[in-house]
Symmetry: D2
Subunit: 288 residues, 4 copies
């Protein structure tokens, strides 16, 4: 997609009713919005309607700062619809959390430096000093908050303060080896993306590669999901797998897994940045 | 999908213009059609709009036999739109062409006997007698038309006669080892599905497994496409691949390829039966 | 591989020691055996050595019926080695167990009829009558043993009698919906192959597609494994996966899963027939 | 694998003859070499035998600098064998050639900085200045040799001088957008690794993503191969693919392809570093 096009995107859902698609598309097209993408989904079991629509703002009759209001009044209220408007001009602002492993970090920073994504990364936070030089090598501020049982609450408070200061809109845990507290999670609902180094729900918890080795699986995986208070149980955004054999030691799994982890996490981040994910009932709709 | 739901599906395309989605969805929803699937695509390079829409006919106000007419008058003419209406009640009727290899044939007939698809297979045609017993074992009429240089035109004429007699709507070449003449193809435009045993456009023509072996590729593929008069150049519907190694002989490639061929061909047939494919500019739109 | 070549294959394992490969290859090559395949593996964690070696018997100096004895005396006893000799002339004899679903059954019988495998399938056993006509359509005897809580022991006894009568060497559960008793399993250790319709160890037990749907995974899998007394916990032979989306209903998962199940089960059967699998410590070595 | 183990690896090939495996393994094991990996392959069509064997040098009786000589005298000469001995202590030395695209460069340098590979990268060479800062950010010398029709011979001569000065053992073209001259290639036979951004042999030459888009393929690929004087025709080391749809523009293919290119190139480099590749007849044997 041409990145210079100025677009609005709405993600919406409500009880399934006849006429919604017509109403929404009419609203945009009657106001001279050129629809660039439209994807809808009906979950017949739940009776829910979901839609993502993106249009070009160039000729759009309604001013940007009135769109939310007009859509609420003219469409959403009639259908009791949940929705959110996003603008391509407002870049999502990502905070990156890391510990000691650098493969996901490098993959993300390389894409960032190569301008692959429409995102800002104003800071990186870690509980260890190890990756400071890597981060600073990319010219990004690095903050270290070592975590112990005793200081966790206080340190997280400082982290949250920092996220607020930097206007962070979502958080990425790039092999951050700490469990985030429910209080922290509640500030960023469905806005914290984690990478788990297994094909969930297989091998939840610690040391999934050891568990996979012990079980003798022939394929390993990685899973990116939104973080909820249930560990490794949040809505899955993206997964991928790779073949292994009896020859692969745990160390080999770790190495092969690294390539999976970075690709799967980066794909999930990319979907989030493009506003293509919507969470409902602890599952994701991933719009095309 | 619940197969007892009575649905209509329209595949359409036209020059991209503002307002089409609103108009089409309004047409269906104002007439009490419950939209079950909607997928649209804009090819910005070609300036073309494509859409597939499927709705439940249970409450639909317009009688089934008037839908074509109403849609033409109320929608299509204004947009200079090409479209086609399909009904789930009207099962596509497939003619299967085979030669001597039985793997695709078995895969298709097993699905047919297991009622996996909404299709009728009234006959199988071959240029050899070899598979007669397999076909008849499934209770399907088998017709044999041996082809030589001299009799090709005459034999194809008989085949076409048979297809007409059986009201065939599309043809599947399940490793049928004869080139179909342009005259035959012109009777079933974008309605003849072939499986080619390579990852097209690599290894067109005869003996692709031998060519793949000789080139030393690490992955082989299979490609299902609509047949056009340019051999192996028709619009691709589906492809898939599998890994090979230096250990694999040509015979191994043939064996591994068989599993690919049958899966890829069956997926393509399934997409065709569900009216999810639309050909434009020698490429397919595959709706979701 | 040319199927008319007469070969012997030895699968062996023992504590890892220096000199084994040299000794074994010397034994074969000094007796004019042409080695066609050799694959060895050392599990350094367990200190175990594993090897599969296959050679052409055409010029082999030791008579076929003496090989077991000579190898034991000259090689195996010195290394305290477990081993087993197989001959290509002695076709494995497979008993197929099915219930009501026909997709794996069709896939296996089609390969059998097409002579894809070096195997005999002398009978099919089921707990239901549903698939009798399919099996008999392929000219194979079909036996039905309906299972209830009360008659299970007696019915299994009859099944085992039948397997003995037919000289069955291994059993394939092709979506057979009954749990095999420990007594039955103990008669065919690492010789009963099951297909489980999930990516084990995720979604063990009943209704894995429902569980996968509920969890919102983006990939589903199938797993073929040897049956042990721990349900779904036996040594994994082969796994594969396919992508799904939020659009896929449970019924869609079932349909997509069918193609996975049949391919994964058939690959596992093929490995077993070729004597390429060796079980150690509840894991498989799969030789190349 | 534990990287502190000191190993020797021999890659060998010769006409297939009885007794080679026994002789080679005996040579190593009689001299108290503990075999860590052995993989052999017979190409029956070509009548060629191939083998890779790696052993622990800790207790090995023959001094490191005599192994080549002893193996030649005691084994290789009898079988008219081509072979090469490698030691884990002697790290391969890679020269990286780049142009303007940074994704493969970043992926390789991140692995290098993270010590994922047993390799040295003493320098990066480019025909453009664009990536100087990226390379220097990783603390690696960067040399720029702009290439024109007129200066190509002279510039390549300078590059070769530099490679010699740095004792370079192999070259990686990480999206280097220049054709290497036959003279240059002849200095590094089967030691120049290229990444081509298509599934070869489909879409050779320039702009493969444009060609793939035009043809309407449903899967795109990337291919890593050794460079020969026939453009895009060298022995393939590794390939991989990813799915695309009608929605993907050429720009989307370029983006998706970047992830493929970097993974495929890095896998090929890893195989080369581990001495797992052997070229014969313009194809690779990739040992396990």
């Amino acid at each position: 997609m041409n990145k210079t096009v100025n677009t609005a995107t709405i993600l919406m859902h409500c009880d399934d009713q006849i006429g919604i698609v017509a109403k929404v598309t009419e609203f945009i097209q009657n106001n001279r919005g050129n629809i660039l993408a439209l994807d809808q989904h009906v979950d017949h079991e739940e009776g829910q309607f979901f839609m993502r629509i993106m249009w070009d703002l160039a000729e759009f009759a309604i001013p940007k700062d009135k769109i939310q209001d007009y859509f609420q009044t003219l469409i959403a209220s009639a259908y009791n619809m949940q929705f959110k408007v996003y603008f391509s001009e407002d870049k999502p602002r990502m905070a990156l959390f890391v510990s000691k492993m650098d493969h996901c970090l490098f993959d993300i920073l390389a894409r960032y430096q190569g301008r692959e994504w429409n995102v800002e990364i104003p800071l990186v936070i870690s509980n260890h000093e190890d990756l400071r030089s890597v981060v600073e090598q990319f010219g990004i501020p690095f903050y270290c908050f070592p975590i112990t049982k005793d200081n966790k609450e206080a340190q997280e408070a400082k982290e949250l303060e920092l996220l607020e200061k930097y206007n962070i809109t979502f958080v990425v845990l790039a092999r951050y080896m700490q469990i985030i507290s429910p209080e922290f999670i509640s500030k960023y609902p469905n806005k914290i993306i984690n990478i788990h180094h297994s094909f969930l729900p297989a091998f939840t918890g610690a040391k999934p590669y050891h568990a996979a080795y012990k079980r003798g699986v022939k394929i390993i995986g990685a899973t990116s999901h939104y973080v909820t208070t249930d560990l490794d149980e949040g809505p899955i955004i993206e997964q991928d797998v790779t073949r292994i054999t009896h020859r692969d030691t745990v160390d080999d799994l770790v190495l092969k897994g690294r390539d999976l982890e970075k690709i799967v996490l980066s794909r999930a981040i990319n979907l989030h940045i493009q506003r293509k994910t919507l969470v409902y009932n602890n599952k994701t709709i991933v719009f095309s």
